[in-house]
């Protein structure tokens, strides 16, 4: 399963990771060989096999609707690279409503 340069760039953007030309080239090769490896799953007949999404048969873990104190604003934003006293701050967003 050989990944083209364009596909690597597309995945990079979807992953929000900027890639240099050298990285695109290198990762294209490495990712392609990994994808070749994982393709061996195609050898297995899985018709009728239910996917195993959850490791244990636990259901219905529900919490009572009781409020508890959280972090105060200074602690909440304190670890941020940029903030005001109480708000996170980011470069101006050109608002299309979603998906930066």
């Amino acid at each position: 399963m050989a990944l083209s340069r364009d596909e690597v760039l597309k995945v990079g953007t979807l992953s929000r990771i900027r890639l240099t030309d050298e990285e695109v080239e290198r990762f294209a090769g490495q990712l392609s060989s990994i994808l070749d490896y994982v393709d061996k799953l195609k050898e297995l007949d899985t018709r009728g096999v239910e996917p195993l999404a959850h490791a244990l048969p636990i259901h219905n873990v529900l919490r009572d609707d009781e409020p508890r104190p959280g972090l105060d604003p200074q602690k909440a934003v304190g670890g941020a690279p940029d903030s005001t006293d109480t708000l996170f701050r980011v470069p101006r967003v050109i608002d299309d409503g979603s998906s930066a």
Partner: protein, 496 residues
Amino acid sequence: MDVTDLTACRMRDALRARDLSAADAAEACIEAIDRLNPKVKAFLSTDAPRARRRAAEIDKRLDAGEDVGLLAGVPVAVKDNMCTDDGQPTTCASRILQNWRAPYNAHVVERLLAEGAVIVGKTNLDEFAMGSSTENSGFEATRNPWDLDRVPGGSSGGSAAAVAARMTPIALGSDTGGSIRQPAALCGVVGMKPTYGRVSRYGLVAFASSLDQIGPFGRTVEDAALLLQATAGHDERDSTSVSETDEPVPDYLATLDEPVAPLRIGLPREFFGEGLDPEVERAVRDALAVYEGLGAELVDVDLPHSTDYAIATYYIVATSEASSNLARYDGVHYGHRSSDHTDMIDMYMRTREEGFGDEVKRRIMLGTYALSAGYYDAYYKKALQVRRLIRRDFDEAFETVDCIMGPTSPTAAFRMGEKTADPLTMYLSDVYTASANLAAIAGISVPCGFTEAGLPVGLQILSGVFTEERLLRIARMYERETDWASRAPPVCEGAS
């Protein structure tokens, strides 16, 4: 008496009897860390003054006759992907969290503190727990205490090396595809991955949410049992942690020395196939002979999906979940933010370019690809189907045997840089361990010998879900007949 030669259990006894003070125990570890860490590079951060203050406080309470807890005064190290709200950073060995201080403690850290432990530092790991050699750490590569030119294994290489080099008697690690068991084997210590859901993941920085588990490192099975006892149990903050009613936590130490008899041991053909180093195989077979000598029966079992297919499954499931779990590292709310960017999207892209290492980038991209439109069925869904087949293999096997044994790792510790050229080569280090995570079952690695070159070999024992009590007893049976734990790595001898 060199305090650092004591196991955690012996330290605990001495502390309780007041033959040893918590201050002295902590000091011994602090000294060992000062002396050995520059060579071994197991710790990313330590806070000696804080540890001393804590030890003094524990001493006061012990002197007053208080029952301070299971780990009263015992030093512990914590892998740096578990949140500690104590002034030390929680970095996950990544530049993207280089200076981040967690405003809360992980559940297991709360447990350690409640049981009186003295946390001596945060240990190194492969970045975000992605790796099998700790060479992917964003800061430095940890060395194997048995041979400083070789890797300690990964991703919990720092915790394994810290325990092996006697810088701390016990340590916590995390295991997603073998990240406790494999470094335990390569460093000649005991390392255990509990059943998924046995220990709370709240505060463990997620790599692959359906596979991650926190587990203990110790030089002995008893020490691993002690640390498991202190950390196991339900946590209402982790919806995937099993309830007390469904699976109460037994007293692991109380029954530890009771052998399991009769004992039927399953040997999968798949664990003894191509790629297994002959010296590793010999040490493992010698260990199996010891079990036979104790009356155990060795039975052939089949795990047809557990090796290559398990690796393939693992590298789809784990990377898919990782791509999702690591999406949050974007420089907005915490961690590193790129200072050189044109707009919001560019900021995200450059922040992650700068903050993540190559292996993390590869896995994120792989996972993103596997989940992307049009590929979900072919990759992720398919992998989850094979996962069910893997689970069935174990369910069927455990109907006829009490446990499954084999080598933990196909090779002993390899040289630094030996497997970094091709990611796939590194991935195959997990060939015997990853299936246990996919099936959610319990597993342990115990030292079972050394190669000619003096490198440790580990025996892996796997057993069904929530059978840790019996698994520990089985491991203890072998340990009692041998004495591998008493050998210390060369780095511990000699001056600093």
